[in-house]
Symmetry: C2
Subunit: 225 residues, 2 copies
């Protein structure tokens, strides 16, 4: 029997580091570095070399014992693992400020996620042009998903509409949803959701800011004595 889920039974913590490895390796590639050891790569990312090797071990065979990694081999290998060896056709649903910002964010395309359409229900937004992608009526969404074989939807609609839109996306065959709405989406098991919660990010920062300020206050008090 074939080993099931080839290279897919991987901890989330490892998955989240793969893009960081790839990013750093592309940087090295750009400046002409050919070989890199786990120690060098790990140090530049502020992690332990053994963690990097442990992560790579889930996929196996990037190098041989005794030889450092070859950047030119590792980059495409990671791209394949992450699933961006071929462009992953994507759309943006919701053309408000955030949707517009993302549409203008050229990096999405460069990183393997070409935007095949932007959709909204607001007639005032329909027709606006962002880097060549014109905002279309949401009625067109299913047709575009089908025609362009779109796999990922970037969801930037208001929270109240997020679930209804999600149901349409799932029915249309979308496989991944990058959700910017502050809401938990209900999807079947064969659809992946990644929540991008800015509020969580800035509040966790706020927690640390509060602790830093408390500490410095205490220090000042101590000095005043």
């Amino acid at each position: 029997m074939r080993k099931q889920k080839k290279g897919c039974d991987v901890p989330d913590a490892t998955i989240l580091r793969l893009p960081l490895y790839l990013e750093k390796l592309k940087l090295l590639q750009a400046i002409g570095v050919e070989d890199v050891s786990s120690r060098q790569l790990a140090e530049s990312l502020d992690i332990k070399a053994s963690q990097l090797r442990h992560d790579f071990h889930y996929f196996g065979g990037f190098s041989r014992p005794g030889r450092p990694y070859q950047v030119a081999k590792l980059v495409p290998a990671l791209e394949k693992i992450i699933g961006i060896a071929e462009p992953v056709h994507s759309i943006i649903v919701g053309a408000g400020h955030l949707g517009q910002a993302l549409a203008n964010y050229q990096n999405l395309d460069v990183q393997g996620f070409p935007i095949k359409g932007i959709f909204d229900v607001n007639p005032k937004l329909i027709g606006l042009d962002f880097r060549g992608a014109v905002v279309q009526d949401m009625d067109e969404m299913e047709a575009v998903i089908d025609k362009e074989a779109v796999k990922i939807a970037i969801l930037t609609v208001p929270a109240v509409h997020a679930q209804a839109v999600t149901d349409r996306l799932v029915a249309a065959g979308i496989v991944g949803i990058f959700n910017f709405a502050p809401m938990d989406l209900k999807v079947p098991a064969n659809v992946a959701v990644r929540n991008e919660r800015m509020a969580v990010g800035i509040m966790s920062l706020s927690f640390k800011v509060k602790c830093i300020l408390q500490n410095s206050e205490e220090k000042e008090e101590a000095e005043d004595l």
Copy 2:
């Protein structure tokens, strides 16, 4: 001797859940719910009740054994822990598309982070108005930070300028940086940084999409036999 770092020696995983607890509790408060048990709250967030109680235990004393939590007490308690009992004055540095989107994102204000200024070096952007906040020349930045007692900077400048701007922010007394540039910032120990990496988010989604697609292909093959 006083217990040091009161309520600050808390695992990151717990800190990241605090905003989710607060968000859900505010929702309950809005619909008039007065009491909530750890079980109810945890279930609505898809986590274990014991985890929620364990998280709360770092801060202690939200209720008494036998009595459920009172929403009206828990909300302000969490706000104080997170550090948003008082508004945390913030600025946006970089008025490109992302900076503009964030400036227009009213929620930041509602959630306790009023935007006291937007800054850029591009003369074409200076003077633009976003919800009452006018883009100013970066030369004004330090003065505004000082005058408005700004604690947090939201950094949306290009990666190449991120470190130089960060150095200026640190020198000006900023305590927390919400970094959208795909770059690791070097800061002293008494400054907190939270990296918001969209590329990591969409690539981790892509990994799961790839695995789902692989699985469904295998299934189809199996059915074809």
